[in-house]
Amino acid sequence: MRQKTLIILGIVVIILLLAVWVYLLFFNNTDQTEPGFIDLPGNDGKDGGVVVPPPPIVESPDPDAPRPRLRQLTTKPVIGFAEVQATATDPIYVRYVETGTGHIYEIDLASSQETRISNYTIKDAAVAEFSPDGLAVAVRSRTDRRSNELLVGQINKSAETLETTTIKDEVFDFTMFSTSSIGYTTETKEGMTAYNYNLNSSSLVKMFNIPFYEAAVRFGEVSEASHVVYPKPSYALEGYLYTFTKGKMERLPAQGFGLTAFNSPNHIVYTRTLDNEAATFVYDKKTRERDGTALILLPEKCAVSLNEADTAWCAYGITKLPRAFPDDWYKGVFSFRDSIWKINLNTLEAEESVDTFAESGRPIDIDDMIAGDSGTALYFTNKYDNTLWLYEL
C-alpha cells in the first residue's frame, strides 16, 4: 500500500515537473531574439546581482572655450578633402577620403563631430579629388605606375555609399570641375592629352594636347579656364611654363631649373633655381613685369584667396634649402617646419600669420593646401603623417 502511494506521488511530481517545463518552453515570453546571444543586464537597477561599474566621469568640453585656430582634424592619413557648405549661413563641414580604404568622412567644424558618409571600399586608394560642392569624388588607386583607371563616385550619404563610374583610361593628373564633369590627362603617342568627361552624358571631349610626357598639370576651375602646365620639376633640368586655354598652348615668360608655378587671377607665381639658389618671382599678367619675393613658394604649399584675387596664403619655413631643391622635398628627404604667410601679390609684402611649430608644438610640413570656399579657413595635410589640418583665418 505504502509502495503504491509512493509510486503515485512520484508520477504526480513528474507530471507537475513536465507541466512546468512545457509552460516554460512554450508560454514563457522573453525578448531574446537570437539563440546563443544573451543581452547583458542594463544598469536600470531592476536586475539584481550584477555589479555595474560606475560610468566614467567625462568632462564635456566648454563650448565657450576658444579653440586653437590651428588644429588637427584627423588622425588618419587622408588623400583628398574639401570644404562643404550648402549656403553661406549653413554649418561648414569638411569631407575627406581615407588613404588606403577610400572611405569618406565628414567633420562638422562647429561640433568637431565626425561621421562616415561612405563605407564603399576602394582598395589602395591613393589620390582623391572632390567636386567643388563636395558631392562627388574621383579616386585613383595606387600602382607601381604613375597612372591607373579612375573611379568616380557620387556620394549617397543616407546609404553611406558611392554610386560609382569607372573611367577605364590610364589617368595621370585629374580634377573634378563639377559633380558631373571630370578633367584628366592620359598618355598618347605624341605626349599627354587632357580630356573632359561628362558623367551624365558619358561624353568625352578633348581639351588639349601636351607635346611631352613628364607634365605637371594644374587644372583651372572649369574646363574652359586656363590650365597651367610645366615639365615636372628638378633642380638639374630646365622647366618652362605653359598655359592651355580652349585648346591653345601658350608659352609664358617663366623658365628655369627646378621650375614650379601656380596661377592666380592676375599673377603667375613661379620658383626656380639659379646657381643652386632657389628664388620665387611674381609675374603680373597685365604689366608683364616681374619681381622677386623674399620667400620660396611651392604650388603645393600655396592657396590663392578666393575673396581677394591678389592675395595668396603660402607655407614656408625659413631654412637653408638643399642643393637638390625641390627634388629632396618631393622625395621626403628634406622637410620644412612651416609658417603660414599672407602675401600681397601686388606689393609682395608678406606677413607671417602663424608659426605652426610654435603654435602646435609639432613639426608641420604643409602639403596640398587649399582655401575653403567660405573664406574662413585653410586646409592642408602634414607631410610628416598625411593627417588633415585646419587653420582658421
Binding site: 589602395d124 607601381d144 607635346p211 633640368l237 622625395k331
Partner: protein, 325 residues
C-alpha cells in the same frame, strides 16, 4: 739669327689682322655689322648689340642707334648698347647709322625675331610613382628630348632641326619636323646638347646649347604599410623601430628602367647575412622586432652586372629598444 726670328714672329702677329681685314672687305657690307649677345635673344630678354666696325675702312665720327625706327638718345656714339626684346614673335628692327669724317652716311640694320626655344628633357630612369619631380639621366640610360618653338607656333613640321651631342651631329644632319630625339646618356659629367632650328628657307631662327648633368643612381628607404601604402618620408640612414615590426621598401632613383625591372643582382642583407626580399616585390622586406632589443644593419644592393655603374647600394641602421619599449 735671333733678330730674324723676332722679325718673323712680329710679322706673323701683325700680318694676321691685316689679312682678316682684307678678307672682310671682300664681302662689302660685312665690313659694318651689328653683333648680338646672346646671338638669338629670346622673348623678354636683355641683350647687347655691338657695332662691329673693325673692318670698316673709314674713320667713323658719329654713331646713331634706332630701336624700331626711334632714336635711342642716350646711345649716341656708343659702340655697344643694352636693350631687351618684347614678347614672342614681336620683331625688333635695330638700326645703326654711322657718319664718316667725310660726311658720308652708312646704315646697317638687324631684325630680331624673339622666339622661345624650349628643350624638354625626359630621362627614362626610375622614380617612385608618388614622386612629383622629374627623373634624371644616369649613365647609358635613354634620354628623350622634345624641342618646342613658341609652344608649337610655328608647328615643328614647318621647321628644320639639327641636333648635336657632344659636338657630333645626330640623325646624320638636318631633318624637317624632327623636334624629338632619343639618345643614351654618354660618359662624362655632362652631355653637351646643341640644337639649331631653321625656317623652311634655311634661315636660322634659334640656336641653343645646353649641358645635361649625369647623376649617379640614389637609394632611399621608405616605410610601407599594407593599408596606407608607402609613407612618403624617407627613413634616412637610421630608424628606431617602435612597434612589433616594419615593412621597408627600397626605392632606387634614376636607375635605368631595364635594370630596375630586370636586375642582374638584387640583394638584401641583415648584419651581413643575405636575406630574401618580399616574394611579390623584391624591393620590399618585412622586419620583426626582437624583445631583446639591439640594432641591425640592413643593406640593399641592386645592380646591372653588365653596366656596373647602373646600380646602387645603401645601408640602414634599425634599432629596437629592449622589450619593444
Amino acid at each position: 739669327m735671333r733678330f730674324s726670328l723676332l722679325l718673323l714672329i712680329l710679322t706673323f702677329f701683325y700680318a694676321a689682322p691685316v689679312a682678316l681685314a682684307q678678307s672682310s672687305l671682300i664681302y662689302g657690307d660685312s665690313s659694318l655689322t651689328i653683333d648680338l649677345d646672346p646671338p638669338f635673344p629670346g622673348p623678354d630678354m636683355e641683350f647687347t648689340a655691338t657695332a662691329n666696325d673693325y673692318a670698316f675702312p673709314l674713320q667713323v665720327n658719329t654713331m646713331r642707334w634706332f630701336y624700331n625706327g626711334v632714336a635711342i638718345e642716350d646711345a649716341l656714339n656708343a659702340r655697344q648698347i643694352s636693350t631687351s626684346t618684347r614678347e614672342a614673335g614681336a620683331k625688333i628692327n635695330l638700326k645703326l647709322v654711322v657718319e664718316t669724317a667725310s660726311g658720308e652716311s652708312f646704315t646697317v640694320e638687324r631684325t630680331i625675331n624673339p622666339v622661345y626655344l624650349d628643350i624638354i628633357i625626359e630621362p627614362q630612369t626610375r622614380t617612385p610613382a608618388f614622386y612629383r619631380g622629374r627623373a634624371l639621366p644616369s649613365l647609358e640610360s635613354n634620354v628623350n628630348v622634345t624641342a618646342l618653338i613658341n609652344a608649337g607656333n610655328p608647328p615643328s613640321s614647318e621647321l628644320l632641326f639639327t641636333w648635336q651631342l657632344n659636338g657630333r651631329t645626330l640623325e646624320r644632319g638636318t631633318i624637317r619636323g624632327n623636334n624629338t630625339i632619343t639618345f643614351p646618356m654618354p660618359r662624362g659629367l655632362y652631355a653637351n646638347l646643341g640644337l639649331e632650328v631653321k625656317d623652311i628657307n634655311g634661315v636660322t631662327i634659334a640656336k641653343r646649347i645646353i649641358n645635361l648633368t649625369k647623376v649617379e643612381p640614389e637609394l632611399e628607404f621608405y616605410e610601407f604599410n599594407q593599408l596606407y601604402g608607402i609613407i612618403e618620408r624617407s627613413v634616412g640612414s637610421s630608424l628606431e623601430l617602435l612597434g612589433s615590426g616594419i615593412a621597408l621598401r627600397a626605392e632606387p632613383y634614376y636607375l635605368d628602367l631595364a635594370t630596375y625591372n630586370r636586375p642582374d643582382f638584387l640583394e638584401w642583407k641583415i648584419n651581413g647575412t643575405k636575406y630574401q626580399g618580399d616574394f611579390n616585390n623584391p624591393y620590399e622586406i618585412s622586419l620583426a622586432a626582437e624583445d631583446s632589443g639591439g640594432s641591425s644593419q640592413i643593406g640593399f644592393h641592386v645592380r646591372n652586372t653588365k653596366q656596373v655603374l647602373q646600380g646602387v647600394e645603401r645601408e640602414l641602421t634599425v634599432s629596437v629598444r629592449p622589450g619593444g619599449q
